[in-house]
């Protein structure tokens, strides 16, 4: 049975993880690659790196991080931030990313989705949508798409936009509720349901996770295929393996054999 996915997300600035991470047993808590390996071992199903560096001068730093992650991590990972052209997609995949996440550039030039899907396959094109309620108290008023890290309203209806994105070849949708992001009060379940009903591609829920129950709600009531979260994991409040067990105990299909250490394999091959 296909399991629901738990996806930790790292904000990376100039090759360093930002927002404090309070794991023990890390030599360097700011190193995204070491953190990624640690999350893999604890049972993360995928990883997302979001490059938040404003300048484009640091691309080599990002490529280096992606290549080093590929060397050490054997679960899928997505890289987002600053991807503006099919060539940007190609270079990121060449360094080992499994998927790229595009947001502002896709809204400004939707053909980028088509080009990416045709050139490299839908499976690697994640369209990220930052959506904000038009009326905070009334989901029937709909959601508006924002770009540029949530700073720029576009007037575009989020539901219409995800339909177009999937028609153009998006293989997955990363849906962030701007109303909930950073508040740890739970995902916007009405938003998730509306996206789920409008789109045939898998949906990753983002924005608002504060407790295990929030993840449960997004994966059940919200109908999401995966949940993305940052602070709930990074601050060490909830261990991924324990969280997955919690969700599995409540009937959510989870991959629980993941905590097999990769190191177990070593010594069996030579």
């Amino acid at each position: 049975m296909l399991t629901k996915r738990i996806i930790p997300c790292f904000d990376v600035d100039n090759g360093r993880v930002v927002k404090g991470v309070s794991f023990v047993a890390l030599r360097d808590a700011g190193d995204p690659v070491e953190l990624a390996a640690q999350y893999e071992e604890r049972g993360a199903d995928e990883l997302v790196f979001l490059d938040i560096t404003a300048s484009s001068d640091n691309r080599p730093t990002v490529y280096d991080m992606v290549a080093r992650t590929t060397d050490q991590v054997f679960i899928p990972f997505t890289v987002g931030g600053g991807i503006r052209s099919a060539e940007d997609v190609r270079v990121m995949l060449e360094h080992g990313a499994d998927k790229v996440s595009i947001n502002t550039a896709a809204v400004e030039r939707p053909e980028l989705i088509t080009e990416g899907a045709h050139g490299f396959g839908s499976q690697c094109i994640v369209v990220a949508v930052d959506a904000k309620r038009r009326d905070a108290d009334d989901p029937s008023a709909g959601w508006e798409v924002y770009t540029h890290g949530g700073r720029t309203p576009t007037g575009i209806d989020a539901i219409a936009w995800v339909r177009e994105a999937v028609e153009r070849g998006a293989g997955e949708l990363l849906v962030t509720s701007m109303d909930r992001d950073g508040h740890q009060t739970g995902y916007d379940l009405e938003l998730l349901r509306a996206i789920r009903e409008a789109a045939t591609a898998p949906v990753i829920a983002s924005g608002g996770a504060g407790t295990p129950d929030h993840l449960y709600e997004a994966l059940t009531t919200g109908g999401a295929d995966a949940v993305l979260a940052a602070s709930i994991f990074h601050f060490g409040t909830y261990d991924i393996a324990a969280l997955k067990q919690y969700l599995a105990d409540r009937g959510v299909p989870m991959r629980l054999d993941a905590a097999h250490a990769i190191e177990d394999l070593e010594g069996t091959t030579s």
Partner: protein
């Protein structure tokens, strides 16, 4: 001449396959020349993307005949995802596209009404033990991302199955050929073990086939 060759036909995430091979303790060369296939003792055909592009790229690189000859000679071969689908007769992805025709059957789309692609971790039900799956338990999770799946004419080709609404073959094989619909290079420890088994058998014994492996006492 490289013993282990990963075929590069201009598509796909080859770096992660090469890293999985390295992590399993072997060296591989990423090659796009027909001569590399001829000299290989273990051949890996990875791949993502669309069937038509895959076949066009293989033809343009002059790799179709060398691949057919290699597999017809029953030499150790591992296909992954599109590298599995390309082995069958026809793919229905984006029309009807002739593939390599090395395995009888078609590549068909998941039915409407499902979330597509089938993306994420799903279980392998092993229907036929295979030396390449040594240490990979029945029910192990593997990482899938695909919208089409194989429909072999011959049920004897099926080594493992996976359920997504219906049951589809997730590992197929015969003789020294094995191919997975999932991505072992993205399937954590179990996937790395699959690569390690394949390479150990291919390079140490020259055969990954069930009977031959048993005869060699390594199954």
């Amino acid at each position: 001449m490289a013993d282990t060759v990963i075929i590069d036909y201009g598509a796909g995430n080859l770096r992660s396959v090469a890293r999985a091979v390295a992590h399993a303790g072997y060296d591989a060369e990423i090659r796009s020349d027909p001569g590399a296939i001829e000299g290989a003792r273990a051949l890996i055909l990875p791949g993502v993307g669309a069937a038509a592009d895959t076949m066009a790229n293989l033809r343009a690189a002059g790799l179709v005949d060398p691949l057919r000859e290699y597999i017809d000679a029953d030499r150790p071969f591992l296909g992954v995802c599109m590298g599995m689908q390309a082995l069958f007769d026809v793919s229905e992805e984006g029309g009807q596209h002739a593939c390599l025709g090395l395995l009888p059957g078609r590549i068909v789309r998941f039915p409407d009404g499902l979330t597509i692609p089938h993306m994420g971790w799903n279980t392998l039900s092993i229907v036929r033990p295979h030396p390449v799956l040594d240490g990979v338990e029945d029910g192990t999770y593997a990482y899938f991302v695909h919208s089409y799946h194989p429909q072999p004419d011959d049920p004897a080709l099926v080594i493992a199955e996976t359920e997504y609404a219906d049951v589809f073959p997730s590992i197929v094989g015969r003789g020294n050929l094995i191919a997975t619909q999932f991505h072992p290079e993205k399937s954590g420890a179990a996937g790395l073990r699959l690569y390690a088994n394949f390479l150990r058998l291919a390079l140490d014994t020259g055969s990954i086939a069930p009977a031959a492996a048993e005869a060699a006492g390594s199954a």
